[in-house]
């Protein structure tokens, strides 16, 4: 009898992912919102939610890697905005569309490399480097735009953000492809393995021959790149690039990553968890919209969610400590 119970327990453990509490949260939230708002369980709303979390998810991929390393990047909102306004400005001036896209991506890569350089080589804590980056990036945005918004981009560019394939926006495909590639890279490549190793024990990683500095720089650069991709698809969707783009974005992204279950101390977690975290963040803001909760409550509720997420992480850590 006890054998059978054990077997069932093993099965449940095997097939129910680690994040089962969060999946229950997603189901619960959906049921609550759906029971109040008839619009919730529609295909269109479903697509809306995914589009709304696409930016958080894409940048969350980079942020997950950074946090797995044991770092953090609070400059993502600024990188996002910077690539958006520069690309937008050049687009509005006309010429071939590919040029501003490439420039935008280069800006993102360069900014990420900058963060990585100061973290890995100069050995300043990532929080400080990227906090400075947040201010520097936003500062350049303001100097560059003088607070103005550019709009009116070429049709061919807007297609990235607005056209659909089989009824699903291109943005959704881009998000899914990036996520799948990132999951593969983290789980199956030596680069991904090295990220986990550094986050677990950077001294041991160094002794094991892992190029800790190089990998740290690459990870920050990837994050910069993903910010630029997000910036591009965002302005393509909105047909406008303003200086206030992406303010507070770092907050949402970090919430999604930590809520998903990637440990803030590094070494544990993954992209899949971040996707779940992002879905919850998206569901909550979608629900608040549908239920007509005032936008003024947004920040208040987001703060509570972040605190709840970190509390969960700390409790997980404690439990492990006890079983040692």
């Amino acid at each position: 009898m006890s054998k059978i119970i054990k077997k069932i327990k093993g099965r449940v453990k095997k097939y129910l992912p680690e994040s089962w509490i969060l999946i229950l949260v997603i189901i619960g939230l959906s049921l609550i919102i759906g029971s109040i708002s008839p619009v919730f369980f529609t295909f269109q709303n479903f697509i809306n939610i995914i589009v709304s979390i696409s930016v958080i998810t894409i940048i969350g991929v980079g942020m997950t890697m950074v946090i797995l390393l044991g770092g953090i990047d609070v400059s993502v909102g600024s990188i996002f905005a910077l690539t958006a306004v520069i690309t937008g400005d050049i687009l509005a001036k006309g010429g071939p569309v590919i040029v501003p896209i490439i420039i935008g991506i280069l800006v993102g890569l360069a900014f990420g490399l900058w963060n990585g350089f100061f973290t890995a080589k100069v050995k300043i804590p990532a929080l400080i480097v990227t906090l400075a980056g947040l201010s520097i990036g936003r500062g350049i945005v303001l100097i560059y735009t003088r607070g103005q918004t550019t709009y009116g981009f070429p049709e061919s560019f807007l297609r990235i953000g607005q056209s659909r394939l089989l009824g699903v926006p291109i943005i959704v495909y881009i998000t899914i492809i990036i996520t799948i590639i990132a999951i593969f890279v983290l789980n199956r490549t030596s680069f991904g393995r090295s990220i986990y190793a550094i986050g677990n024990n950077s001294t041991a990683a160094r002794i094991s021959g892992i190029r800790v500095e190089l990998i740290t720089m690459i990870v920050f650069t990837i994050t910069g790149f993903l910010c630029s991709i997000s910036g591009l698809i965002t302005i393509a969707r909105m047909n406008a690039a303003g200086s206030t783009l992406g303010q507070g974005l770092e907050f949402q992204v970090i919430t999604a990553v930590v809520l998903g279950g990637t440990s803030i101390t590094g070494g544990r977690g993954g992209i899949g968890k971040t996707v779940i975290g992002a879905i919850i963040v998206g569901l909550i803001s979608n629900g608040m919209q549908l239920l007509g909760v005032s936008i003024f409550y947004n920040q208040f509720i987001s703060g509570l969610i972040l605190l709840a997420a970190v509390t969960l992480d700390v409790m997980r850590g404690k439990k492990e400590f006890e079983t040692l």
Binding site: T189, F191, N201, I207
Partner: protein
């Protein structure tokens, strides 16, 4: 010294998953005595100290202080009871001044509750003059050398009105003059009826200052002896025990192997590092276990860290297979077929939340991955399961996270990652520290079989029994200098201990 007992431990037993750390251990400390606590590594000394400090709780047994039974000790309670601990690792506030460090939690106050800095300053100054430490009370601890820091820590303990001071190897980083100062201070404390538990490996110190000495072996009390009854040889015999364990004689048989053609693997020439290493030269050979035997602080870890490129500002040269290697780094060392099992597996060995497989394969990722660094999981599994089998790492499966393994198995995993890479020269720094006896024997057998297959093993250790069990050649390292080369066949464990602790 008088006959009043200030601290009494009665039949203390503490069981860890690896075995009994303390087994029915009883101990009496008199008022105003310096009481040596002796025993080899793992004998149970530090477990006992941690119980007194409230960091561990004994399974059975009682502790009395001034005839009052003390239950549920915790660090704060033990401080309030007048116990003060001075550990091997320093417990100071490096960024604060000497006076803060001495008077922390114990400042002089003005009537309104403000600290009287004037008084604190002059008191500190007086103390420093008393101890002939010629620095200002404002000096930050981080600007002092380690000997002075240790003295400051001891002084701070005394000013906190400790009744019982427990010192764990307090002289490991002191110079001769500082040592003498410390000893005269201890004698002053004694005259003030303060009791001292003094843990050390250096028997000369015990003979010099201790009134009584208690010897522990394998968690059991061997005996408590009076000064007039003990001599150096007597203590060595008590610490080591009469008979050497059977498992070690087993190993002994295997280690009778003659080297035919000696081929040098790694050479160090005139290594120097700060004032820790001085002119260290040696050659290690393939097919040999070279032991570098030295006490804590002798410079063993520094040698290993230089070879592996973790210490940069050293002098001298390292040769591998006869080629000089400049600008050493872990990546370069690994390329030259070196492996390094560090002293502290938690801090620099294992990847805590990762699986056994991922831990072992971390060095061979390049070898088992194809285009774009994609890991060939089947190959990984194939190689690592061989290693796990070879080292008999006890784990339910390869996916088990390393944090759930026992210390001994974690250590095997750390060794396993270098065996997976099939490195030819292995450096191990205190690899069996804190590992139970049976796993230790397994570990020795592994090292011997590696040596027999032609690898070069360099073992840095303070454990003379370990050295006796498996070494082919022994370098005696003292205060950063190689003093002698010894051969196992000429020695017994006790004669090795004698060499280790002699001046």
């Amino acid at each position: 010294m008088n006959d009043k007992i200030t601290l009494r431990a009665k039949k203390i037993t503490k069981i860890f998953p690896g075995g009994k750390a303390l087994d029915n251990f009883s101990f009496k400390l008199r008022k105003g005595e310096i009481h040596g606590l002796l025993g080899k590594n793992g004998a149970g000394k530090s477990t006992f100290i941690k119980i007194l400090n409230g960091l561990y709780k004994q399974d059975t047994g009682e502790i009395f202080i001034n005839n009052k039974k003390i239950k549920n000790i915790n660090p704060i309670l033990s401080l309030n009871l007048g116990l003060k601990f001075i550990h091997q690792e320093l417990n100071v506030f490096p960024h604060l001044s000497i006076m803060d460090n001495i008077f922390m939690n114990n400042y002089y106050y003005k009537p309104k509750g403000f600290i009287s800095w004037k008084k604190v300053f002059f008191e500190t100054k007086k103390i420093l003059e008393d101890y002939k430490i010629n620095v200002s009370p404002y000096t930050k601890i981080e600007d002092l050398d380690i000997g002075k820091i240790q003295l400051i820590e001891i002084i701070s303990a005394i000013t906190k009105k400790a009744k019982i001071i427990i010192m764990d190897e307090p002289t490991s980083s002191l110079g001769r003059r500082e040592k003498e100062k410390l000893f005269s201070t201890l004698k002053v404390l004694k005259s003030k009826n303060i009791s001292i538990i003094y843990i050390t490996h250096v028997l000369e110190e015990v003979l010099n200052i201790c009134d009584r000495a208690t010897v522990l072996r394998d968690g059991k009390l061997v005996g408590t002896f009076k000064k007039r009854d003990f001599s150096r040889d007597f203590l060595v015999e008590k610490i080591v025990g009469q008979k050497v364990k059977n498992d070690i004689t087993d190993i002994e048989k295997k280690s009778e192997k003659k080297l035919k053609n000696i081929r040098t693997s790694l050479s160090a020439r005139n290594l120097g590092y700060k004032n820790i290493l001085n002119n260290v030269s040696f050659d290690a050979n393939y097919g040999e276990i070279l032991c570098i035997l030295g006490l804590m602080g002798a410079g063993k870890s520094e040698i290993a860290n230089i070879i592996f490129g973790l210490i940069k500002d050293y002098s001298g040269n390292i040769y591998i297979n006869g080629n000089i290697i400049k600008e050493l780094s872990p990546v370069k060392s690994i390329k030259n077929s070196l492996g390094f099992v560090t002293e502290d597996r938690k801090r620099s060995g294992i990847f805590y939340h990762m699986s056994v497989m991922q831990n072992c394969s971390i060095v061979i990722l390049k070898n088992i991955s194809k285009l774009l660094g994609i890991i060939n999981l089947n190959k990984e599994k194939e190689i690592i399961s061989k290693i796990v089998k070879k080292l008999s790492i006890s784990t339910p499966n390869l996916k088990q996270k390393v944090k759930y393994l026992s210390g001994g198995n974690q250590q095997k995993v750390v060794l396993g990652k270098w065996l997976a890479k099939d490195q030819d020269i292995l450096i191990l720094d205190e690899p069996t520290k804190g590992i139970d006896v049976s796993t230790r024997t397994e570990f020795y057998n592994i090292l011997l079989s590696l040596r027999n297959s032609g690898k070069s093993v360099i073992l840095l250790t303070s454990d003379y029994e370990e050295v006796y069990s498996i070494s082919d050649r022994i370098l005696l390292l003292k205060k950063g200098e190689v003093k002698k080369t010894l051969y196992r066949k000429n020695h017994t464990p006790s004669s090795l201990l004698a060499e280790l602790v002699s001046n």
